[in-house]
Point group: C2
Chain length 558, copies 2
């Protein structure tokens, strides 16, 4: 495919997981120009043992480094910017984003050693950036982080609108509503392709305004004048934190912040002017003892039950500053990300044991989504009037649901394209079709290692995690057909050895017999010798224990 | 505690997890008599790597074997009977339960080798079983399995009512409503302690009748005359399966069953008369090709996304009999057990990709809970009028919610006891308090091994799963201060070796240096020598890779 690309067609494809929540990297290519939209990380599946995070495979971009005109970011969430520190070791490209986005990215990049100084460019909404044959315009949208944008990309074959993550908030905390007029203008001028957020495509109606959370917090504060109030939320939700501070000030409470990421973001947001904190409203977490319980609000991280988060440590009495009890009220101002339910339940149970009152989004609206529901998604389509439509951001079922939304609003079914990672959508002024693929996929990051953990390593980790390991070591003399030392048996993660002495002795005897038998029969091929050892032990152990530990024979010849 | 037990008090305690869903074993002890209620398994937490299931620690019962008068079962779910095959290897006791419960248990026990023939006793509702100083009456309740009972236990100090798992179904499929009059009589006679299901204690109102599912299935069948209908549900929900069969028959569909546990249970339920299948209604899954799609219903397992289940195999095109496509409609007639959401989502996404229509309980009521909601829980309290109350079955937050329900209905707060595993509740006619503990806990089952996987083994498995393993092997002569062979490095689950040749060579050199240095310095203590090796390598590898593989030094002396 890569070889036969037409120079008069626009190619649009995803390198990060298009249809998996949180793994985002889109590429637009026309003739000699490439632009990249988003550069996010994904979180590992449960079976990716030991993996810290997942980034897109950019080998295609590496081969086409000379074509790359820029990386364009819609907002500052990890699933949109998190892979940049890794990608910048491989690719060189100027990066464009709004002020908060670039501010968060800059802080992040400081923690990484990079081969060269990153080329970071701050833009304002309304700005248009020229990038080869493309020009990219940043358009205000609402989301659960400030300064979020959609992108309108003028290409030689027509305009592509990429919504980023968005919702419509008519009463946003910072007063900045999604730029509906500009989206409508683009629609009038003609949009070739709309690539739209699909996260909430299954949900009816509209996503409530962020302000609703503020109103409900107000009610909670009013009803609980005697309690200390602890509120956990996502650190990047600057407006949420702003509302918590504002409400606290109105109720004469001081606000203390705990949790490293929360402190970092609040500091950055205040510096950049995205948060306004009245003088004296914030106090240091070390000073909370100086105030009565009922005059305190504590803002913290840990809404997803993360075992090292501040909320987790509070729940399990491991937090050195905050000890929770019956005079505390905890608000979990977030919904559970699928897969985290059990971790969150663990925290809730601990809080219950301590007699803490709990509010969460299952009981009262203390959280609203940052993504558009069905009606907002249709509004986006109605405004931009795209010729072709590509649902993005979401699992397959969300993309499929957004296809239904598009059909509802009158986009012909054969103008809607659900893509897949690496699949190339080819467009000109009048046509749109899938045509070929580019190399793509997931690259696993483990510690400093990027891509050095592959399927074999993961398979071994899964094997080790299930039944542990038995190492059989012996020194032999092939020449003399003799065992010189061992076999010794070392086991880990298999069975508690003190209880398995007899079993291990039997393993030893079995190993010695197998080894000696091989030597007696003049087996000099190491593979054969080791395979015999392995098979004999595996069969014996499975029969006795119904387990399949990994068996590692190490035989040395002297 | 065990030594000082009063002979005029009743002791009530849990050995299996009282406040964790699904791990159930309660003990009532008075003077020289012990009875056991439930004997269930639990499912392992995510961090219990390789563990198949969890059973209660019965060491206290083992020591008091001569006191045990019987094991009483409320119904046939795994979390109530699943541990019996393991417990019967340790304890000897007659077992009592209703017909379906004993029927399911009998099938289960056939798969296990037991030291002696189990003493299984089938009772009918209304029966009273004498057990030493206790007598146990079986009382009909409704639940998501047929033949479920509560137990009323007459003890020398008063009556204890144990609800088992229950709901109130006014229109049950088998016509058998919870025995409200008998519970009311017991209340009039006087109940000392009520131990009540708390699973749905947070939910308002009443749990809908099982019949609601039938009505909604009827609607789905009516609206989709052109589709093949595939319905996944819990195999033990005999009434659900009955409704699916009845509805299919009304719509002139044949029913094929796939999934081993589903086939087993349907066979047992039909044999025991708990299901009525009209002649010709069931067909073999191998014969589905003989019927048009729209005349078929397929009943299957896999509602929790289990990777080996029939539904999973259908979704991923691995089922050899059923290939799904746009003419199929899949109903997932169950709700997600916390922790399984991601697995279920995986199936939903695959089904979407195949163009299959999907109904699940988030869209329409195709499932109802088997547990009582707030109003039913309060009804149980109002009927039995207990002097003391102990919420059971549920996570801590559910127990706490059920305490609130009890307070609502007027049970004094100091008459409500939330217990913990091993904590002993001591009662006489007039008083109730916690007093001491008995040995208790979780015993992990891995393959044939019961209790041989402890914390050390699990810690090793976690370590191995995270960063893999490096084995360093060498043969040395301490006497000659020489390395005779090696060091050889074997790694598994650490890093893909072909990409790490250079790293492994460095490890080799480092290991040789450390070893030779120790030998040169006359280190003859093996522990010291191995620790040196381990520490040097660990430090090096962490600096280079930010990973902490398990390092196993194996050094042999010749």
């Amino acid at each position: 495919m890569a070889k036969n690309k037409s120079t008069t067609k626009l190619n649009v494809f995803a390198l990060g997981g298009l249809n998996e929540v949180g793994k985002n990297m889109y590429v637009l290519e026309y003739a000699n120009d490439i632009i990249i939209i988003e550069c996010g990380i994904g979180f590992p599946d449960e079976d990716m043992l030991g993996i810290d995070l997942v980034i897109p495979d950019v080998s295609y971009l590496e081969k086409n480094q000379d074509k790359i005109r820029g990386i364009f970011l819609t907002h500052g969430h990890e699933d949109h910017i998190g892979a940049i520190p890794y990608i910048l070791r491989i690719l060189d490209a100027p990066i464009f984003g709004t002020r908060l986005t670039i501010g968060i990215l800059r802080n992040k990049l400081e923690e990484h050693r990079l081969p060269r100084k990153p080329d970071l460019n701050t833009v304002s909404v309304g700005d248009v950036v020229k990038a080869g044959g493309f020009s990219v315009e940043f358009i205000r949208v609402n989301h659960s982080i400030a300064d979020a944008c959609a992108l309108a990309i003028k290409t030689p074959v027509g305009t592509v609108v990429h919504t980023g993550d968005f919702k419509l908030d008519i009463t946003p905390i910072d007063g900045e509503i999604m730029d509906i007029p500009r989206l409508g203008e683009l629609g009038k001028e003609g949009v070739l392709l709309l690539m739209s957020d699909s996260t909430n495509a299954e949900r009816r109606g509209y996503t409530p305004s962020e302000r609703v959370v503020g109103e409900n917090l107000e009610g909670i504060f009013m009803m609980n004048p005697d309690k200390r109030i602890v509120i956990a939320t996502f650190s990047s939700n600057v407006h949420r934190v702003q509302q918590i501070i504002d409400t606290s000030v109105r109720f004469n409470r001081k606000v203390a912040i705990t949790g490293r990421s929360m402190l970092n973001i609040v500091t950055a947001a205040v510096e950049l002017g995205y948060m306004k904190v009245p003088r004296g409203a914030l106090i240091d977490i070390n000073d909370i003892k100086r105030y009565p319980m009922e005059q305190l609000t504590i803002v913290t991280t840990g809404t997803q039950g993360e075992p090292m988060s501040a909320l987790y440590r509070m729940a399990f009495s491991e937090h050195d500053k905050v000890v929770l009890g019956p005079t505390d009220l905890v608000v979990i101002s977030a919904s559970a990300i699928p897969g985290n339910e059990k971790l969150i339940d663990k925290i809730i149970n601990e809080l219950c044991k301590r007699g803490v009152d709990i509010f969460r989004d299952t009981s009262i609206e203390v959280h609203v989504s940052g993504h558009a529901c069905k009606e907002e998604l249709k509004l986006m389509m109605a405004l931009t009037k795209p010729k072709f439509f590509m649902p993005i951001h979401g699992e397959y079922r969300h993309l499929a649901a957004n296809r239904e939304n598009a059909i509802d609003i009158g986009i012909p079914e054969d103008h809607i394209f659900i893509s897949d990672i690496g699949l190339v959508l080819e467009l000109d002024e009048n046509s749109c079709k899938f045509n070929g693929t580019v190399p793509s996929g997931k690259v696993l990051v483990d510690g400093y290692g990027v891509g050095d953990v592959g399927n074999i390593v993961l398979r071994d980790r899964r094997h080790l995690s299930k039944d542990g390991l038995i190492v059989v070591v012996a020194t032999v003399s092939i020449e003399e057909q003799m065992i010189l030392s061992g076999p010794d048996i070392v086991s880990r993660g298999f069975v508690y050895v003190r209880e398995a002495d007899e079993l291990m002795n039997q393993v030893k005897v079995l190993a010695r017999d197998a080894l000696q038998d091989s030597l007696d029969h003049n087996v000099t091929d190491w593979t054969q010798l080791k395979t015999r050892l392995k098979d004999d032990l595996a069969k014996f152990l499975f029969n006795r224990t119904k387990r399949n530990p990994m068996i590692l024979p190490v035989v040395m010849n002297i």
